[in-house]
């Protein structure tokens, strides 16, 4: 098992993500501490993000995995402070960017962070781009705001950004409108807007779900290249463990607004501890071999305004457990070096092995 300390102290960086030598540097760029985002609805308070903590280092890719409604996108929007209020509210916690809590910034200062220091690549390139403005206008808008450039110098930067995302003939493409580009090219333009002001954190929210396999592969390769050039940390939000296997250094699995397991990518695949992680990995058919009947996760994701008390995964767990164990709210515990799991009798088969780490 690779240990966190080994990787960061080792001179010869280890190829962990399959995209060549690791780009991770031992400098935490963004850290979430017990972040809580609540929404007030007519059914009660929805804790969409319920005490999420994670950190990303410079050049690292963190995969955030979970079903729809698990709170992975809300966490990302909370980092950007894009939660609409009301009904939403960041109820507590800290978001530290280079050690500074950005939740305390004024809206004006936040504008500099948003799209400047932290940028976001959204899922649907057709909705992320405005159909009535040309590419130059849309990429240039971000450059104009964050770098205060105009005219020829702004144009040069736009062409530069398009070149960076490997769009052929960028001078010509910059004058095109979104509908003139293919899906893959459009997603590259969205990427160009994201990287145009050299962000230190890129949040990619399922950027490839609407793309064909070949175009997806090229886009993922491109993101890795940009990361190698700029040293940006990437938070990759996805529900596909295939993307995690290809792209990520570390993985955080989210369920019902909380992180249930977090570890190095190989550790997650080789030694998943939480039943939910096991089920997510197991329920994907394999391309490499003929898969027998797929194990499936029974039931539906829980309703966030009506969560089971205690361990929210207990009703879907296939393990045998006492009713009273399900009422205990489990903690996220470091069971092995750099391997965190929400330790509950209901959803961790190896609970007894790590029993001494918790008080319940």
């Amino acid at each position: 098992m690779t240990n966190k300390a080994d990787i960061t102290s080792n001179e010869e960086l280890i190829d962990r993500d399959g995209f060549g030598p690791s780009t991770i540097q031992n400098e935490v760029v963004l850290e979430l501490k017990n972040l809580q985002t609540h929404f007030t609805t007519k059914w009660g308070t929805v804790k969409a993000c319920d005490g999420v903590s994670y950190a990303v280092k410079k050049g690292e890719t963190l995969g955030v995995v979970g079903e729809s409604g698990s709170g992975k996108s809300v966490t990302a929007l909370s980092i950007m402070r894009l939660i609409q209020s009301p009904p939403g509210k960041i109820a507590g916690g800290e978001v530290l960017l280079h050690g500074k809590n950005i939740l305390e910034l004024s809206e004006k200062e936040m504008t500099k962070v948003r799209g400047g220091e932290i940028s976001m690549i959204l899922q649907d390139p057709m909705q992320a781009l405005n159909p009535v403005f040309d590419i130059n206008n849309q990429v240039g808008e971000a450059i104009g705001i964050h770098q205060k450039l105009k005219g020829k110098r702004r144009w040069d930067k736009v062409v530069d950004a398009l070149k960076k995302v490997r769009i052929p003939a960028p001078e010509m493409r910059a004058r095109d409108y979104p509908h003139q580009l293919s899906g893959g090219m459009r997603q590259r333009v969205v990427g160009a807007i994201g990287i145009s002001s050299n962000p230190s954190v890129i949040i990619a929210d399922e950027p490839t779900t609407s793309l064909d396999v070949t175009i997806q592969a090229a886009y993922l390769r491109l993101l890795k290249q940009i990361q190698r050039e700029t040293g940006a940390a990437i938070i990759f939000i996805t529900h596909d463990f295939g993307i995690v296997a290809k792209m990520c250094d570390r993985v955080a699995v989210m369920y019902a607004g909380r992180i249930v397991e977090m570890a190095d990518v190989r550790e997650i695949f080789n030694n998943p501890l939480h039943e939910y992680t096991k089920a997510l990995i197991g329920s994907v058919p394999k391309l490499e071999e003929k898969t027998g009947r797929l194990p499936q996760i029974e039931g539906q994701p829980p309703l966030l305004y009506n969560l089971p008390p205690g361990d929210s995964f207990a009703p879907r767990s296939t393990l045998k457990y006492d009713e009273k164990d399900a009422l205990i709210r489990p903690d996220l515990v470091e069971v092995e070096p750099d391997h965190f799991v929400q330790l509950s009798r209901c959803s961790v088969a190896d609970f007894d092995k790590y029993k001494d780490k918790v008080s319940y």
């Binding site: 030598p21 899906g183 064909d212 396999v213 296997a245 329920s283 058919p285 391309l287 009947r293 996760i297």
Partner: protein, 371 residues
């Protein structure tokens, strides 16, 4: 129904890789769908044809799943639409449009009763469960609508049948009184499947049935589809771009590129020995199931070519990284499928298969920069 006795496949023409074994429900022979893209009259200017589907043949045996794979724009959905009768095969008038046979009978020559039976027997499940259910109808009404049109069942009988169908797809019969917005994506897809099952079909066309769903729900829906197939001896046509889904679900697979089938045959055979360069490129680009699996990606030059006026000869000619011999006969003439293994057929030209070629110079290992 009386159709059991009149199955006679003598009208169906031969095609490579196809046979009448296994009582095919649908047989497709050399179908073409060409769209005219400009309106000019032929004598005044050149007419451009978008060849969405060009000479496709396959069989759909009962109880089996046929997978159609390829990038967007390769003609897989158009093929399915023609089978469902939503599009008619068409060409410029000089080339035959091809035929579709339903249980051995040409669908163009079916009687009115025969057409009704075909429409009952061939159903569809669509990709997006949010837009394929009418938001203003209760689930019971949605599921029993085909029964109302096609059978003489009374309202009570239809409601009972709808309840049975809901139970069969793993929902609660009382949920029939709810509206679609009250369900999650996976449950909605189950409703879509229940509706397709209502008339006891023989074939269901599945157009990307799981790609809009969460990964954890996908397994539930795929398992449900496999169970229903075994129980009712259903045939499926599965349209997908996720190769792992195809390998899991399909008995036979057709890999399509630019409206033409490039590789066809037994799914396991194709995945064990992918022969066409395009199939290899698709497999190499697919996501791995474990971080230790590293595949060198075969990068085809250029983007997907427009299907407007594709090459006369091999359509893959403009995409292959291998050298194309100028005066080779397949630059002017469509190459046929050739049998390369047991139940394994490939379009074989000097530049389209991996056999006998060193592809290492076209492979991009994972940390290499793309040109």
């Amino acid at each position: 129904m009386t159709t059991q006795e009149r199955k006679d496949y003598s009208n169906v023409g031969p095609a490579i890789g196809c046979s009448n074994d296994g009582d095919p429900i649908i047989q497709v022979r050399n179908i073409r769908k060409w769209y005219q893209v400009n309106k000019s009259i032929p004598i005044f200017g050149k007419v451009d044809w978008l060849k969405a589907v060009d000479d496709v043949s396959f069989d759909v045996p009962s109880g089996k799943t046929i997978g159609l794979v390829g990038e967007s724009g390769c003609g897989k959905t158009t093929t399915a639409k023609m089978i469902l009768g939503l599009e008619n095969p068409s060409t410029d008038g000089h080339v035959a449009t091809g035929e579709i046979f339903f249980q051995g009978e040409n669908v163009d020559e079916l009687t009115a009763a025969g057409k009704r039976e075909m429409r009952r027997s061939v159903q569809a499940v669509f990709q997006d469960p949010w837009s394929s259910l009418n938001p203003r109808m209760r689930v019971n009404t949605i599921i029993s609508e085909p029964l109302e049109i096609n059978t003489t069942m009374t309202k009570q009988e239809r409601d009972v049948r709808a309840g049975d169908l809901l139970a069969e797809v793993g929902l609660n019969p009382y949920q029939g009184n709810l509206y679609p917005h009250e369900f999650s994506g996976g449950q909605r897809q189950r409703i879509g499947i229940a509706r397709a099952l209502a008339l006891n079909p023989k074939l269901i066309v599945l157009d990307e049935p799981v790609s809009a769903l969460d990964v954890s729900i996908r397994a539930q829906i795929m398992n449900l589809l496999v169970d229903l197939q075994n129980e009712h001896d259903l045939a499926y046509i599965l349209i997908a771009h996720n190769l792992a889904t195809v390998r899991y679900m399909c008995h036979r697979t057709a890999v399509m590129y630019l409206g033409v089938v490039q590789e066809y045959g037994d799914t396991e055979e194709i995945f064990a020995h992918p022969t066409h360069l395009y199939t290899n490129a698709l497999i190499s680009a697919a996501l791995p199931s474990h971080p230790d699996i590293e595949r060198d990606e075969i990068v085809l030059p250029g983007e997907v070519v427009s299907p407007v006026n594709p090459p006369e000869g091999d359509v893959f000619m403009t995409r292959t990284p291998l050298p194309v011999r100028e005066n080779h006969k397949f630059t002017k003439e469509r190459p046929p499928l050739v049998e390369v293994g047991k139940d394994h057929y490939v379009v074989e030209t000097p530049w389209s298969t991996v056999t006998g070629h060193d592809l290492s110079e076209f492979k991009l290992s994972v940390d290499q920069e793309m040109k």
